[in-house]
């Protein structure tokens, strides 16, 4: 693997990492795979686009990117909170089995995707940053400027998350809830609030990753399908484990770049599928996870 491929792989991995983290946050707290995350990403990517279009005449490239990201992040947070309220809150109140969360998340994801299709049509849009063509050169290697910024923003976002999770009270609450919702509530944790906050955080990550994906792949309604990459990364890393998700994402990015180089982008999904299947059979708990034995 060439160094250039390595750089590209890590770049791709950082985007996947944001998706995976958004995914892992919800899995941690509610123990299900939130497929609506894809829809949130798509919707907020478009919202970011609107912000960018609105401001493009007033601000130049780099700050424009940053503002777009922030706008999308905040939008993402709010959309996610709305999603939680409409799609999942009642299920918790009803103590519905996990299946329903799952189906609810798929449905919500489809809903968001189709709403975007209706309002934005199926055309491809691109962000009005000139960044796409800008490149940096270090020695023999090229960095796309956008990749560079994405990497930096990813690192900032992830560090911020870690800080919140491990150094603040709400972080403790989130981690407590991920162990046991009931006991945490008995200990005074306001489950509704913490879950809402977790969704907000996952939405923020969704918004950021939505913009990044939009930059990489241009904007189109089916962007949300890339949530699967986040899922895969989460699974490789160990479901629910945040650092694992990041590690898994980087690995996935590297693997994908390698495969594209070897077999072309057309057949890459096939190999990813096979690799994933084998991985799950050999180490289902992921890199960082643990097998939890069901008790009788």
């Amino acid at each position: 693997m060439s160094v250039q491929q390595l750089i590209n792989g890590i770049s791709l991995g950082s985007v996947y990492a944001l998706i995976a983290v958004g995914f892992a946050l919800i899995f941690n707290v509610l123990k299900f795979s939130n497929f609506s995350h894809g829809g949130v990403m798509t919707a907020t990517a478009y919202i970011g686009y609107l912000a960018a279009i609105g401001l493009k005449n007033h601000i130049t490239s780099t700050p424009l990117l940053i503002i777009t990201v922030i706008a999308a992040a905040l939008a993402g947070g709010f959309v996610a909170v709305i999603v939680e309220r409409t799609a999942f809150r009642r299920l918790r109140v009803n103590k519905s089995p996990v299946i329903y969360y799952f189906v609810s998340s798929i449905t919500m994801g489809m809903l968001l995707e189709n709403l975007v299709t209706i309002f934005a049509s199926s055309n491809f849009y691109s962000y009005p940053f000139a960044l796409g063509s800008q490149i940096y050169q270090i020695g023999d290697f090229t960095f796309a400027a956008s990749d560079f910024y994405m990497l930096v923003i990813s690192i900032i976002a992830l560090t911020a998350l870690m800080w919140v999770l491990y150094k603040t009270r709400i972080g403790v609450a989130v981690r407590a809830l991920s162990f046991d919702v009931n006991t945490s509530t008995l200990m005074g944790v306001d489950a509704n609030f913490v879950i809402m906050a977790t969704f907000f955080a996952s939405g923020v990550f969704g918004g950021i990753s939505g913009v990044f994906l939009g930059i990489n792949y241009t904007l189109y309604p089916q962007l949300g399908k890339l949530i699967v990459k986040g899922f895969i990364a989460s699974v490789i890393g160990g479901l629910g484990n945040i650092t694992g998700a990041v590690a898994g994402a980087v690995l996935l990015g590297l693997t994908e770049v390698l495969l594209i180089g070897l077999v072309g982008s057309g057949l890459t999904p096939v190999f990813i599928f096979v690799i994933m299947l084998v991985f799950l059979l050999v180490r289902p708990q992921g890199i960082a996870g643990r097998i939890v034995q069901e008790k009788a």
Binding site: Q293, E294, K295, A296
Partner: protein, 259 residues
């Protein structure tokens, strides 16, 4: 040959030794109890015997046949059935179907016979239905055959679990705290039921219980577990008079507390 021989089974979870070196013998037509304070490893022992957990070491022998390492369903088909401490009935199936499902592994008709309603399907379905109704009748649930299991009161749910376990045609029946949550008259009724089952079927029964009246009344022999290890074993009278057992449950007598 004993019907069930459990030889030196052990199981650890992470750093915690849940069961250490536990052995047990169950004869034909025996009723044996396992008691001990909470967390002593009783249900873990059941889970090891029924195959829910894999043994770290030791052996399980059913009528001489080594069952160690087999999957849950294979162990059940070999002849060990169980009920659960936290009732685990099948939702989405009615009372009768819950029992029929346990007997289904014994129906041999294949998928084609099933989807086209041919061959052995009709006969075997009827046989299953009759047998399952019979088991429901034994535990007194026949009139409720088409009810939803969740709508049954607790005591009846426990009976359903027993009927379901019986449908697997067991040689050994493991009952995990079957009297938990029953009121005194239900407990009496339950004791009567176990005696009848014991008499009418060729069953060896292993019971985990906290209700002493059940254990004392039914069991020929009792094993006492504490912290995963065998503390004592003997007849009900032996155990009643055993100092160590009392201490394990109640704690040592504190000289200063004696009034």
């Amino acid at each position: 040959m004993n019907r069930l021989e459990v030889r030196s089974i052990s199981k650890a979870f992470g750093g915690i030794q849940a069961v250490t070196d536990f052995s047990l013998d169950l004869r034909q037509n025996d009723i044996v109890g396992i008691i001990g304070p909470n967390g002593a490893g009783k249900t873990t022992a059941f889970n090891l015997i029924s195959g829910v957990y894999k043994l770290d070491s030791g052996k399980i022998l059913l009528e001489g046949r080594d069952l160690t390492g087999l999957g849950q369903h294979q162990i059940t088909r070999a002849g060990i059935a169980r009920t659960f401490q936290n009732i685990r009935l099948f939702k989405g199936l009615n009372v009768l179907e819950n029992v029929m499902t346990a007997a289904d592994p014994y129906s041999s008709y294949n998928i084609f016979e099933s989807i086209f309603r041919m061959g052995r399907r009709k006969r075997q379905e009827e046989e299953n239905r009759e047998k399952s109704m019979h088991y429901l009748d034994i535990v007194g649930l026949k009139p409720l055959a088409y009810e939803n299991p969740e709508s049954l009161p607790y005591g009846l749910q426990r009976k359903l679990e027993i009927a379901r376990a019986l449908a697997t045609n067991p040689k050994v029946l493991l009952l995990d705290e079957p009297a938990a949550g029953l009121n005194p008259s239900e407990v009496g009724e339950f004791i009567g039921l176990v005696k009848r089952l014991h008499r009418d079927f060729d069953l060896s029964i292993l019971i985990i219980e906290h209700r002493m009246e059940v254990i004392m009344e039914l069991c020929r022999w009792i094993y006492v577990l504490n912290f995963g290890e065998l503390l004592a074993s003997g007849t009900p009278t032996d155990i009643q008079n055993n100092q160590e057992v009392t201490e394990a449950y109640i704690g040592e007598e504190d000289e200063e507390c004696l009034l």
